[in-house]
Assembly symmetry: C2
């Protein structure tokens, strides 16, 4: 019979996928002798079976749970419903990957009309006992049975106002006893039965609730956001209760073994005296710094410090630890690898290497490539920031700089983002319901909560700028204003946040690019010496090229020449070219464009020096350069001094049913070879000019897009080589060059052996290859891809993460065939997934020579490339 329940002493940290992260770590801590309240874990497999069984707990499982319960009873000498010293439990979820705040937790389970008396007796604190009972009923009703919290809250408010007090703590034991009765009535009213007095029944309902919460909408959103598969399931941890709220010799807290914001090797954390664990995380009271504990309970502090060091050494990583002090006795409730900012991640990884705890390769694997995003984004411009008006100061909860319009609900933030606005989500405090709003916002500002509050933890995970616990402001979510002393900020007004200092500014402030140095430089050196894949960038301008160089790009993998055509000054010549009726007129218009294109390329060569630069010839259909609305056509006709009807006819003649599959790419050059000839001339002349001006070893790479048949490439190549030879003859000098092609048409993949006869390099255009391979128009697929993700047909949109099985298979076929013809063919990728870590890993595995991505993603791609090497060992 399969074992579905493990006592903590039966597990270990390596059983993560069975016990969940929390359960595995509770087991590990138990086994290395740390003070962990005893308990047991119900496995993730039980969760899967729970769903298979039609969302019920089956009899054998119940038996197994009871057995483990008896075990804990024996160990603690406590029993359920005991009038003297009752056994109480916390019930928590514990997924394989940490999902903070996503899953529901129930504390004090086991309390009933009998046990409450036992709790009062054993703690000599009747008020505490009934307060616990009241909280338990509310939490259980809310979490396990779905009864609205508000029904209980309003009774509490009534009670307080009847007594004429404002704080919960002003209510006495009798008040709370009455409340308990009222709460039980609410339960009965909602559920048509009495509040369950049988602790075993409470436990079963609680376990079911945890299992069910795996599929609650916010958990689903979180998993999507963090690439966690939906079929993993969650474990349930049932742990005997300890109380941090038994008075001033009790307390609870959360600590990181190192600073999670900057990585500093110093204990970092917070605690609350006389509180239960959830109070710290929820951010309702502002807690004290962990160092304070030294003054209040020095022995406990010392013990804790020692334990944190032991844990860090044991786990060989920075730990995020939850603890409770019950009457001066320290208990550990959780440890896990701590979430951290990218800056902290780099610093900790480098420090751990230097402390001899981990190897360089381990350090490289420790950083999630996407996390580097945080380091690569702008900070405020020094000058602008000095002149900016400071509104308030809060906690520097997640570093970075962000500006945007203020919105007060997640929904408004999502809408603003979809309108193309940058926005800042401002909340009293955030909750899991706000996740999508947080994703849409540039930054998050909360009035309450500490460094480990929901807003802070989630924002750091997302690499999003966050200022939390900003007591200086009052957030009025109803009327949608922020009041900061005499300043009033309304919905839609601009503010700026500095997540590294906690400062909130008025207005939209300029930003500058970060400098990358110190540990980051050291780390990237390790990365560079580990990876095999080269990393180039997609850049169309000298500015982008320079930016990419600063981020370590090793060349340009895709320079899109059409972007140069859209320029306001040039588009008239482009349009003249398109509307030419004769070859002669078209050539004249192209002659106007030639010097401009030549200058573009010259400047890029000057920036890039001898690094490779792959220039793609014109790709979009010509109608993209023409207006489509009547008034715009009229205006253009006027400005070009041509007949409106004639122009309209031409615009309509160029319109296409499926422009994606239309007259574009090399097909344009089959019809109008003179366009590519002009561009080629510009490239070669620019290279010769740059060479003359001292740039050495330029070897232009000319890339022909949308080739599906060898003959297309052969024809176009014939034309442009003729042009190149003409330039060489005119100039009396020559230069080496490569001619290659995008591989972005499925047919090109399966005939790559033929195409390689003509192409010196392949660059996989995975955007189009995905569109054509799947038959998905990216512009239209948005309408149905949501349904695909909802119905679990796709884990991820293939436009975000390279579809290895399909598009990747086409790539593999192309590589196999292409290298058969030309074993030294140079292979790269320039689709957007070229900067997505798991796609980079795939590109490494199939033997590409380089990936090319946007400048900001260069370090990310490099890290992913290095990780790919290590993982494939």
């Amino acid at each position: 019979m399969e074992k579905y329940v493990y006592s903590f002493f039966e597990g270990s940290k390596d059983m993560r996928s069975l016990l969940g992260g929390k359960g595995a770590n509770l087991a590990e801590m138990t086994n290395i002798g740390l003070p962990v309240p005893p308990g047991f874990t119900i496995t993730t497999k039980a969760c899967a079976r729970f769903y298979d069984e039609g969302k019920t707990l089956w009899p054998e499982l119940k038996e197994e749970i009871k057995e483990h319960l008896r075990n804990v009873e024996e160990k603690l000498g406590k029993t359920f419903s005991n009038e003297d010293n009752p056994l109480l439990f916390s019930v928590r979820s514990g997924a394989v990957f940490s999902m903070p705040g996503m899953m529901d937790t129930i504390l004090n389970l086991g309390l009933n009309d009998t046990a409450v008396k036992g709790l009062a007796k054993s703690t000599s604190n009747e008020r505490f006992a009934y307060d616990s009972y009241r909280r338990f009923i509310q939490m259980f009703s809310d979490v396990a049975m779905g009864i609205p919290k508000a029904r209980f809250d309003s009774l509490l408010e009534d009670m307080k106002s009847k007594k004429g007090v404002t704080l919960d703590t002003d209510l006495d034991a009798d008040d709370l006893k009455r409340l308990v009765e009222q709460y039980k009535d609410v339960y009965k009213d909602e559920m048509y039965e009495e509040f369950p007095q049988d602790p075993m029944k409470q436990l079963e309902l609680a376990i079911q609730a945890v299992f069910l919460s795996w599929n609650n909408p916010r958990a689903v959103v979180y998993r999507k956001l963090n690439d966690i598969p939906h079929d993993l399931g969650t474990a349930v941890n049932v742990q005997s209760m300890v109380f941090g709220n038994m008075g001033n010799t009790s307390g609870t807290g959360v600590a990181f073994t190192r600073n999670p914001a900057n990585g500093e090797n110093k204990l970092f954390g917070e605690f609350l005296i006389n509180a239960q664990g959830e109070d710290v995380v929820a951010g309702i009271r502002t807690p004290s710094h962990i160092d304070e504990l030294k003054n209040i309970m020095p022995e406990v502090y010392e013990e804790f410090l020692e334990i944190t060091k032991k844990l860090e050494k044991h786990y060989r990583d920075m730990q995020d630890i939850e603890f409770t002090i019950e009457n001066k006795k320290l208990f550990l409730l959780q440890t896990r690898n701590g979430k951290r900012t990218a800056e902290a991640a780099i610093n900790i990884a480098v420090d751990l290497v230097e402390e001899g705890l981990i190897t360089r390769e381990e350090a490289i694997l420790r950083i999630e490539p996407n996390q580097l995003n945080q380091l690569l984004h702008p900070t405020f411009n020094e000058k602008s920031i000095n002149n900016a008006q400071i509104i308030a100061k809060g906690l520097p909860a997640s570093p970075g700089a962000a500006s945007g319009r203020v919105y007060f609900t997640a929904e408004d933030a999502v809408n603003a983002k979809s309108r193309g606005e940058r926005c800042i989500l401002v909340r009293q405090e955030t909750s899991p319901e706000d996740i999508e709003g947080m994703v849409s916002a540039e930054g998050i500002l909360t009035a309450r909560g500490g460094m480990t509050s929901h807003a802070a933890v989630v924002a750091r995970g997302m690499g999003k700028c966050c200022v939390a616990g900003c007591n200086d402001i009052r957030v009025d979510e109803e009327s949608k204003v922020i009041k900061a002393k005499d300043i009033i900020i309304k919905e839609g007004d601009y503010i700026s946040l500095d997540g590294s200092t906690g400062t909130v500014y008025l207005g939209d402030i300029d930003k500058v690019l970060p400098e990358l140095s110190g540990n980051f430089g050291k780390f990237m050196d390790w990365v560079d010496s580990t990876r095999r894949l080269k990393v180039r960038t997609n850049a169309d301008t000298p500015r982008d090229a320079a930016q990419a160089l600063a981020f370590g790009a090793e060349g340009i993998g895709l320079c899109r020449t059409e972007h140069m055509f859209f320029d306001e000054i040039r588009i008239p010549a482009v349009r003249k070219m398109i509307l030419s009726k004769t070859l002669e007129d078209r050539k004249k218009a192209l002659d106007e464009l030639l010097p401009m294109q030549r200058k573009d390329f010259y400047e890029i060569y000057k920036v890039m020096g001898e690094r490779s630069v792959t220039i793609r010839l014109l790709d979009p259909p010509l109608h993209e350069f023409l207006p489509t609305k009547e008034e715009d056509i009229r205006a253009l006709a006027k400005s070009m001094n041509v007949d409106y009807d004639e122009l309209k006819d031409r615009v309509e003649g160029l319109a296409e049913f499926n422009p994606m599959l239309g007259h574009r790419g090399c097909r344009l050059a089959v019809t109008y070879p003179e366009i590519y000839r002009m561009q080629t001339r510009a490239i070669i002349e620019a290279a010769l000019d740059a060479k003359k001006d001292g740039v050495e070893n330029i070897k232009p790479e000319i890339m022909i897009p949308l080739v599906g048949h060898k003959n297309e490439l052969k024809y176009v190549k014939g034309e442009i080589v003729e042009e190149i030879n003409q330039v060489f003859e005119e100039r009396g000098e020559s230069i080496d060059y490569y001619i290659g092609t995008m591989i972005e048409v499925p047919r090109a993949c399966v005939t790559a052996d033929e195409i390689a006869e003509e192409a010196e390099f392949f660059s996989f255009g995975t955007n189009d290859l995905t569109q054509m391979g799947y038959g998905f128009s990216r512009d239209d697929a948005g309408k149905f891809l949501n349904d695909y993700e909802e119905k679990n047909i796709f884990e991820k949109s293939p436009f975000e993460v390279l579809d290895r099985d399909g598009v990747g298979k086409l790539m593999k076929i192309a590589i196999e065939l292409g290298t058969k013809t030309r074993p030294d063919i140079h292979l790269g990728i320039c689709g957007e997934v070229g900067g997505e870590p798991s796609s980079v890993e795939f590109c490494h595995s199939i033997g590409l020579d380089y990936v090319s991505c946007s400048p900001y993603r260069v370090p990310i791609a490099k890290l992913a490339a290095a990780q790919a090497v290590i993982k494939s060992k």
Copy 2:
């Protein structure tokens, strides 16, 4: 050194690719002892080298030609420029595949100021000699040097009007001598040099002209039309002249060993007394029937008859023979396998088998599958034809029935066709310039020319209805009218042609389908017992299905359900369904459609009986069912009683940038599974109903379109299987069924192993697979595919003939992977190329189980399938 010139006695009929068809046959006839005027052939390889040498004849070739010339001189005892008996030649092209009328010919080469005297002396006919010289100068100037014919013609007209005569034959020798001088002046005027007197120079220029004519536009068009590769090149045949125009004991003619219209085993042909060969083919004089020759020159006729029998036995096929009688002496100038109608082809093939001359397999290979088209097309409805007004009678030049609007130029016919009109091309006589017009027309009517005139020969080759030599009408090409006695037919008026009787009718006459029996039935039985591939049809209605059965279809490979949705009575319910805002409303609208779809399927099952029927679920994007123009949307809003703005929003919301790659196929069912569920219910209920009504062994094949990922199919299949089980439960009975998928998305091909886990059959949708594989939108590619063909990038549009190397490769990958998972997976094709012979051959070679094509193409596909078996042996 490579041999580029072959004397006739050095060649044989098996050297066709080197000597061209004409050269090989002249050699063969020479070697079997037939009277062929001596000569030699310059090879097709010489043509290729001619282009490589920059379109010049190189010295070694000239030497080789001279050697062979000397050979002929010796054999005939004649020499160039001889004053008594000069050597004269014809120079003709001779490509590997017969290209009638396409290539240029020069006769009487060798004539100059000296030789003309020798010719006069040897023939004792000065007038004849100078007429020949005059003709030669004109032909040489026109064909070899590109001097407009009109410049000579106007001089001839001047001469005639000066003499007051109307016929060329009224001019005497002196007139012609003067004309020769005038013609030479024209030549000098145009070419800035004297007319070449050196016969060797004449010969070289003539050979060059033939080589160059390989690439003249009409030859290029013909090759395109007939799938002849452009790189084959042409040979040149240089043959000593014989004269059919030396008086009444001379003549020239063309004959077929059997009737090329119906296959009757009886000599069939025409001749002209006192004429040169080109006069017969050009159709300028109406010739006599070959039987007449028996009366005029009985010995010659007998000799000819014997030779024709010998040739037919030798070549084991019906021959098309050109002959000339010079002073009662018979010479053969050409023999080749004769072109014939489909009816004749079948009859001849079956007869030859029965005569023991060829095997059944040879007979099967003898019929070009596309030729069957002729047999499968309608003839006039008996009743309608009895009431129709006969305008005129001409020669039954190419059988069939055609109706259409009258147009008088090839260009007008092409334009009419492109507007979607059916048209009849009416010409005085046709010439190679009319080819594209003939392609566009339903039928061809000429006023002049015989059964072997250009119009007749080309029309038979195309399988197009043609009435030629219709002396009853006067065609006024200038004012675009036909006059037939008192009837005047203007451009755009309808006429009808019966190509089997030569009758021309007024108006647009009903047609009926042909009955296929007799030799056709026998032939198709041989075909059926030879082929391995099954042949199904694409049919959406019971009517199409019945038609296809009549043509021998073995099942339905593609029944497109959307065609049932476009029906005028149904589309309101379809639109209601699309515009539904809730699932409930949509289901209600679908409930309206259910009985209609069920009836569709029921009727198809009744027609098809136990044959396989593959039904494809809804494929097109929903916006195809909605109007797009404002006025249509307004009208629809009114009729549906919905708000215009709301409807417009919905229409716009459904619009797509690239509908080809949009929300269609199985993607619709991911979003709206209820649509496929309704269709599936209709299919299963119809099958159960038909079974109850006596149709046995129905096993519905449900086909899910546009699958690219296994999970799409899995999800959709899950939905429809649930629906099927529901129907079974409701009915209390069940039926076997298959669920399979179209393979039309490139990704499906490369992941076919995964998809085959869910699919019981694959049907290749090569239309979409070509669109996505190439990235060509068929709706847009028309704009640039012409450029592709012109620039020799494609031989053929991949939408017409399956692209074996690309799309075919994807198919092979899919088959390899699919059968790995499911070795017995059933494989078919339902794209339009499924009825194109060379594509069918490919489908055979890659192991498909069946092809599916339009009803009319079923016999064609069967024949192609049988040929594939024989060819692959």
